[in-house]
């Protein structure tokens, strides 16, 4: 995530990667606007999580799980349920991640992935109300990285979307002041899907879905959440202090829109396997 360049990576690596980019090449053979293969496995926590997905983006992999609980609504939104997304940098996934409370970059990861879902208003939270002011469904989607070879944001975004799309939970109703199951099984009321696409800027080049080596030498990155209507629903410049021109932002949006179609298709295909 962070700006490792001066601390960990030698300038030679950066020069090597840029000299490849000068020839239109990346170290793993991809085109600049090409994603690594996306593998999505849904229902990986079938006995305990209401929804789940394991996502591989090359050698980056994450697992996301969804829990649906019944809780009180917030006082200022008595007829709305609640969605929260968290993500973290578990030390299991990389020698670069620390044990201990999350640092700034881990907090950014969690907030950017959360924003990608919430700002896109993909979940109709009004439909998560059971009884006005009393009971609502709370939806928690939590992401754990297993392997970190760059671009945790996009992998996490895909995993959360796939886990939410395949979430199934028992419908509840209030009967004589107590909650009982109706016997129906519900899905999360999704009205849209937005996925995050991250573009790294290295020198004068824009490369999508950066691997770790590329992140380490990037000047900055731009994450763009794109929905099914090709609208931008969230953006975040991070991962370094390099500036971006207006033209680079425009190009990045072009790449993000293009790639979002493939990703959304992949999620929908994976979701079909859950009835």
């Amino acid at each position: 995530m962070g700006d490792w360049s001066s601390e960990i990576i030698s300038h030679i690596d950066r020069e090597h990667i840029i000299s490849l980019l000068n020839k239109g090449e990346r170290s793993d053979g991809r085109a600049l606007d090409e994603f690594r293969p996306i593998e999505i496995e849904v229902g990986v926590v079938p006995a305990k999580a209401e929804g789940s997905a394991l996502v591989r983006l090359g050698d980056t992999s994450v697992v996301a799980g969804v829990k649906v609980l019944v809780g009180d609504p917030f006082p200022d939104s008595p007829d709305e349920g609640f969605v929260m997304v968290t993500a973290e940098m578990s030390p299991m996934a990389s020698p670069l991640f620390d044990i201990g409370p999350p640092r700034e970059d881990a907090i950014e990861l969690a907030r950017v992935v959360d924003r990608g879902v919430r700002e896109s208003e993909t979940v109709d939270i009004k439909k998560l109300c059971i009884e006005h002011g009393k009971y609502v469904y709370s939806v928690f989607a939590d992401v754990y990285p297993l392997e970190y070879d760059g671009n945790l944001i996009d992998a996490s975004s895909i995993a959360v979307n796939a886990a939410l799309a395949t979430t199934r939970f028992p419908e509840m109703k209030v009967e004589d002041d107590t909650l009982v199951e109706t016997g129906n099984i519900l899905s999360i009321p999704l009205t849209n899907t937005a996925v995050e696409v991250t573009i790294a800027k290295i020198g004068t080049y824009l490369v999508v879905d950066p691997i770790l080596k590329e992140e380490m030498v990037q000047d900055t990155r731009l994450t763009i959440a794109v929905d099914e209507n090709e609208n931008m629903t969230a953006m975040q410049k991070g991962g370094g202090t390099g500036p971006l021109t207006l033209d680079e932002i425009d190009q990045s949006m072009g790449i993000a829109i293009k790639r979002s179609h493939d990703i959304i298709s992949a999620i929908k295909d994976a979701a079909k396997t859950i009835k």
Binding site: M232, T245, D250
Partner: protein, 260 residues
């Protein structure tokens, strides 16, 4: 304490916003440099009802040591809201939102500071939001870059910042609280004024690709205006401070200030 109500329209039939502004009009802005005596540099900004103070300490020794960078200074930004700056009382402990904003502010300011001149040191930027009424992270960047200049930290330029957004389908600049809350989207941004490159960029809401570009262009225009306001604030402090000293250097100082 009393819950705010959503206005019927954020832009009325005459094309004016809830506070009477045109869509590309900034709120009244007042920036002051050198407002705190203990800090090495400081500045305040009032932008509409938003009121923020920034203080800079350093370059100075960094504790804890393990954060030390060997090839440059560590720019540490702490953005904090007072408990009473928002409608509900904010909890006193730093929130995850405050930590993330601290990071994006540091990212926006880093490109203009000659950090490599102070290896192993820390430059501390403390931002306190006294009253929050929209655009606090942008106002914080405006004030913090003035505080850095006031502290004599070598800089390539000041960093102007503004939030652009959308309401009633129209792009607007410098969102107030209500526009942020009930509008259709928010794009906080900051630029390097000499190159128009973007050093802060976040977005929420929903925008087409064309709207983003148009919004950023509006933001760049506003930032260029804000940059002039920043330079004026710096000159006001500087001229005031040196008026009874060496008059001959004034032109040179003006040149330097114009470069920032």
């Amino acid at each position: 304490m009393s819950p705010e109500k959503k206005p019927d329209n954020l832009i009325n039939a005459e094309g004016l916003r809830v506070d009477g502004r045109r869509i590309d009009e900034l709120r009244p802005i007042e920036m002051k440099v050198g407002v705190l005596k203990q800090a090495d540099g400081s500045a305040s900004i009032r932008q509409g009802k938003t009121y923020i103070i920034a203080a800079v300490y350093g370059p100075r020794e960094l504790h804890p040591r393990h954060l030390t960078l060997n090839d440059r200074a560590y720019l540490r930004v702490v953005y904090r809201m007072t408990t009473f700056s928002v409608p509900d009382r904010k909890r006193p402990a730093p929130s995850r939102r405050e930590k993330e904003i601290s990071m994006v502010i540091a990212n926006a300011l880093s490109p203009v500071i000659f950090l490599e001149e102070f290896p192993k040191a820390v430059i501390d930027v403390f931002v306190t939001v006294i009253q929050a009424d929209g655009g606090t992270r942008c106002a914080a960047i405006n004030a913090a870059s003035l505080a850095l200049a006031d502290a004599g930290i070598p800089m390539k330029s000041l960093v102007p910042s503004v939030a652009v957004g959308k309401a009633e389908g129209q792009l607007i600049v410098d969102l107030g609280d209500e526009e942020d809350k009930y509008g259709q989207g928010d794009i906080p941004m900051a630029i390097l004024p000499h190159t128009e490159e973007i050093v802060l960029l976040q977005q929420d809401g929903s925008f087409t690709r064309e709207e983003i570009i148009e919004a950023l262009q509006m933001g760049i225009n506003s930032c260029k205006y804000l940059h002039e306001v920043q330079k004026d604030a710096l000159k006001a402090a500087y001229v005031g401070a040196t008026s009874d000293e060496d008059e001959e250097n004034d032109d040179e100082d003006d040149d330097y200030l114009d470069d920032l």
